[in-house]
C-alpha cells in the first residue's frame, strides 16, 4: 500500500481457523472498501461463512489480523463486532422465534427507560420506521416471528442490520430462502446501501447474484482464497472455473478447463 492512499475499510489478513485438525480457513486475506460490494464465492465447505464469522465475532480466528480503517482491532464476540459497526445477516437469520419483531430487532441492544425498564413502545416505533422502508406492507409487529412468512422473517433480520447504522454489512446467503419478488427487493436494497457508502460482504452460492451485485469477487477453495478479481476483468466462466478447480484459469491446463467451458 502506497502512502497517501486511504486504507481499506476492512482488511482480513492471513486469517486461519481450524476445527480440530481440519483447516476451515487457511491464511485467507480479503479487503473491503467503503461503498463496495465484495462477493465471496466457493463451493460447500470452502470456508466462506467461517471467514465471515470471524469478522462478525461469532467465531474467533486462530491466527491473523483484522484491520478496520487500517487499525488492528480485536473481535472476540458479537458485541465487539457491533461496537465496530459491523452487522451480520446470517443465513439462518438468527431470530428468536418466540418473541416479536421489535424484540428481535433490538435483541441485545434493547431500548430502556431511565429506570432500566424495557421501552417496548419506542422499540416498536423504531421497528415500524425501518420496516416501513424495507417492507411497507408489514403490519405484524406484536406476534412471535415464528408466525411470519419467510420473506417477512428475512426482512426482520435485514432490518436489524440496517437500523443500527452499520458501516460494514455481512450478508450470508441473503436471498437463499426468498421468492423472485423478494429477491429483487433485497438486491435493490444492497445497491441502495452500497450507494450510501456501506461496505458489504456478500456470501452466496448463486454466481449470478454475485455477478449482478459485486464490484469485486473473492473465490475460496478448501479454506484458501484462490484469487480476488474485479468484475470487469473476469467472466462467469472464469469464476466458475476457479470455484471448481481451486486455481486461477491462467494456471489451469486446457484439459481441466475444457469440460467446464464446453
Amino acid at each position: 500500500m502506497t502512502t497517501g492512499q486511504t486504507p481499506p475499510l476492512v482488511e482480513l489478513r492471513d486469517i486461519s481457523v481450524a476445527f480440530g485438525g481440519v483447516h476451515a480457513v487457511e491464511r485467507a486475506t480479503v479487503t473491503l472498501k467503503a461503498g463496495e460490494v465484495v462477493g465471496l464465492v466457493g463451493g460447500n465447505g470452502a470456508g466462506k461463512s467461517t471467514l465471515m464469522r470471524v469478522l462478525s465475532g461469532a467465531h474467533p480466528s486462530d491466527s491473523g489480523d483484522i484491520l478496520i480503517d487500517g487499525e488492528r482491532v480485536t473481535i472476540g464476540n458479537p458485541r465487539d463486532a457491533k461496537a465496530l459497526k459491523i452487522e451480520t445477516i446470517y443465513q439462518t437469520l438468527a431470530l428468536a422465534d418466540n418473541i416479536d419483531a421489535p424484540a428481535n430487532l433490538f435483541l441485545g441492544r434493547e431500548l430502556v427507560s431511565q429506570s432500566g425498564m424495557l421501552d417496548d413502545s419506542a422499540m416498536e416505533d423504531a421497528t415500524r420506521k425501518v420496516m416501513g422502508r424495507l417492507n411497507p406492507n408489514f403490519k405484524r409487529f406484536k406476534v412471535p416471528v415464528r408466525t411470519l412468512s419467510g420473506g417477512q422473517r428475512q426482512a426482520v433480520a435485514i432490518a436489524r442490520a440496517v437500523h443500527f447504522n452499520a458501516r460494514i454489512l455481512i450478508m450470508d446467503e441473503p436471498t437463499a430462502a426468498l421468492g423472485p419478488a423478494e429477491t429483487a427487493q433485497v438486491r435493490d436494497l444492497i445497491r441502495q446501501l452500497r450507494n450510501e457508502g456501506l461496505g458489504i460482504f456478500l456470501v452466496s452460492h448463486d454466481i449470478h447474484d454475485v455477478f449482478d451485485l459485486a464490484d469485486r469477487i473473492s473465490v475460496m477453495y478448501h479454506g484458501r482464497i484462490v484469487d480476488t478479481v474485479s468484475k470487469g476483468d473476469t467472466s462467469i466462466d472464469d469464476v466458475l472455473a476457479m470455484i471448481i478447480l481451486g486455481k486461477p484459469p491462467a494456471q489451469a491446463s486446457k484439459e481441466e478447463l475444457e469440460p467446464l467451458i464446453g
Binding site: 458479537p78 458485541r79 418466540n98 418473541i99 435483541l107 441485545g108 430502556v112 425498564m117 416505533d125
Partner: protein, 416 residues
C-alpha cells in the same frame, strides 16, 4: 364474545385458567352445599399453595431457558432446616431466643444460602456445561443428604415466635385495616398501569384498546381485588385465640364484630414475588434474554447476549425463591423435619407446566404458573375436603396435568 375478548387483549390461556379455577371452586361448592366456599377454606388453601407457587415463578424462567431444576425440594429442605437449627440450636447459646432481630438474621442467612446454592449449580450448568437435569438431580440428593447432616437426623423445633408470622393464620395476617390498604394500593396500581400503557401507545400513535375494554379491565381488576380483601377480612379471629391474647394482655382490643383476620402474610409474600418476577420476566432486559435464549440460543449468543451469565442468574434467582418458600414452610411447621420440601420439585414443575410453560423452551408466564399452583392445590384441598385420601388427590393432580398440557398442545397445533 371471541372478538370482544380479543379487543381486551387478555391472554385467552390465562382467561381459561381463571375460568377453570372458578369452575373447580363452584364444583366443590356445589358438592359440599357451599361449605367448601367458606373464607377459612379459601385462606387455608391459598396459604398451602403459596410455597409451591413462589417456587413455580422461578421455575418458569428456568424451563423457558431450556433448563430444569429438580433440586428445589431439597434446597427448600436444607434452608428450612438451617432456619430451624439457627433458631433452635445456635441462637439460644449466642444472641438469645425470640430477640427482635433473630428471625430476620435467620431469614437473611437463608436468602444468602439460597443464592449461593443457586450460584454454584448455575455456574456448573452455564459455564462448565453439565446439563441442568444432571446437576440438579445431583443437587436433589446432595442437599437432602445435607439436611440430615445438619439436623443430626432429628426434627428441629421450635422457631422464634416472630418467624411464625410467615405461617399465616390469624396471627400471621395483615388484619382488617392493612388488608384494605393493600387492596386499595393494588387497585391504584391497576389503574395507573392501564393509564401508563395507554399513554405509551398514544405517544407513538399506535392503535389502542377501545375505551370500554380499558374500563372493563380496570373495573374487573379492582372488583376482584376488593372482593378478595372482603373475603379475607370476613374471617374473624376464633374465640379461643382471642381469649389467649386477653389473658396475656388485658388491654387487647377486640371490636364488636370480631377481629378481622385479613390477608395472610404468605399471600402477601406470594403477591410481592409474583409482581417482582413478572416485572423481571417482561419488563427487564434479563427476562427478555431468558426468553430469547429459550427461543433460539444461537440467536441470543449472536445478538451479543451473555447467555451463560443469564442462565446462571436464573438459578441464583431460583435459590433465593427457595429461601422465601422455605421460610413459609418452616414457619408453618414451626421448625423443620428431615423431609421438609420432599417432592416439591414435582409439584413446582407441574404448576409451571399447567400454567402454560413449554418444555420446548421460550414460552411461559409467571401469572400462569401461580394460577397453575392454585388450580392444583384447589383440587387437592377440595378432594381432601370431600374425604378423598392423598393418593387419590395425586391421581387427580396427575390427570389434570396431562389434560392441561394436552389442551395446550392441541391448541397450538390448531393455531399453527
Amino acid at each position: 364474545m371471541a372478538s370482544a375478548l380479543r379487543a381486551t387483549e387478555i391472554d385467552p390461556r390465562l382467561f381459561g385458567m381463571v375460568a377453570a379455577l372458578v369452575v373447580i371452586f363452584l364444583g366443590f361448592g356445589a358438592v359440599t352445599n357451599g361449605r367448601f366456599l367458606s373464607a377459612i377454606n379459601l385462606l387455608t388453601m391459598s396459604v398451602q399453595a403459596a410455597s409451591v407457587a413462589i417456587l413455580a415463578t422461578g421455575m418458569v424462567l428456568i424451563i423457558v431457558s431450556r433448563n430444569i431444576d429438580l433440586s428445589v425440594g431439597s434446597v427448600v429442605g436444607i434452608i428450612a432446616m438451617t432456619y430451624a437449627v439457627l433458631m433452635h440450636e445456635v441462637f439460644p447459646t449466642t444472641i438469645g431466643v425470640d430477640t427482635a432481630y433473630g428471625w430476620l438474621l435467620a431469614l437473611a442467612i437463608g436468602l444468602v444460602l439460597g443464592a449461593l446454592i443457586g450460584a454454584i449449580q448455575g455456574f456448573i450448568i452455564a459455564y462448565i456445561g453439565i446439563p441442568s437435569f444432571v446437576v440438579t438431580l445431583g443437587g436433589l440428593l446432595i442437599f437432602r443428604g445435607m439436611v440430615w447432616v445438619i439436623s443430626g437426623g432429628a426434627t428441629q423445633a421450635p422457631n422464634d415466635k416472630q418467624f411464625g408470622v410467615m405461617a399465616g393464620g390469624p396471627e400471621g395476617s395483615l388484619g382488617g385495616p392493612l388488608s384494605w390498604a393493600l387492596g386499595v394500593v393494588f387497585c391504584v396500581g391497576i389503574v395507573l398501569l392501564l393509564l401508563y400503557a395507554r399513554r405509551q401507545r398514544h405517544r407513538f400513535n399506535f392503535p389502542v384498546r377501545p375505551i370500554w375494554a380499558e374500563i372493563l379491565i380496570g373495573v374487573i381488576g379492582c372488583a376482584v381485588t376488593l372482593a378478595a380483601v372482603f373475603v379475607a377480612n370476613s374471617y374473624k379471629w376464633p374465640q379461643g385465640l382471642v381469649d389467649r391474647h386477653l389473658a396475656e394482655d388485658p388491654n387487647f382490643h377486640v371490636p364488636p364484630g370480631g377481629l378481622d383476620s385479613g390477608i395472610p402474610w404468605p399471600i402477601v409474600m406470594l403477591l410481592a414475588v409474583t409482581v417482582l418476577m413478572t416485572i423481571l420476566a417482561t419488563r427487564r432486559r434479563f427476562g427478555r434474554y431468558v426468553f430469547a435464549i429459550g427461543g433460539n440460543p444461537e440467536a441470543a449468543e449472536l445478538g451479543g447476549i451473555n447467555t451463560r451469565w443469564t442462565v446462571m442468574k436464573t438459578f441464583i434467582l431460583m435459590g433465593v425463591l427457595c429461601a422465601i418458600s422455605a421460610a413459609i414452610t418452616s414457619a408453618r411447621l414451626n421448625g423443620a423435619s428431615n423431609d421438609v420440601g420432599e417432592g416439591y420439585e414435582l409439584y413446582v414443575i407441574a404448576a409451571a407446566v399447567i400454567g402454560g410453560t413449554s418444555f420446548a423452551g421460550g414460552i411461559g408466564t409467571i401469572s400462569g404458573a401461580v394460577l397453575g399452583a392454585m388450580v392444583m392445590y384447589t383440587l387437592k384441598y377440595g378432594l381432601s375436603f370431600i374425604g378423598l385420601e392423598s393418593p387419590i388427590q395425586d391421581i387427580v393432580a396427575g390427570i389434570v396435568l396431562i389434560i392441561a398440557v394436552g389442551f395446550d398442545t392441541l391448541n397450538r397445533r390448531r393455531v399453527r
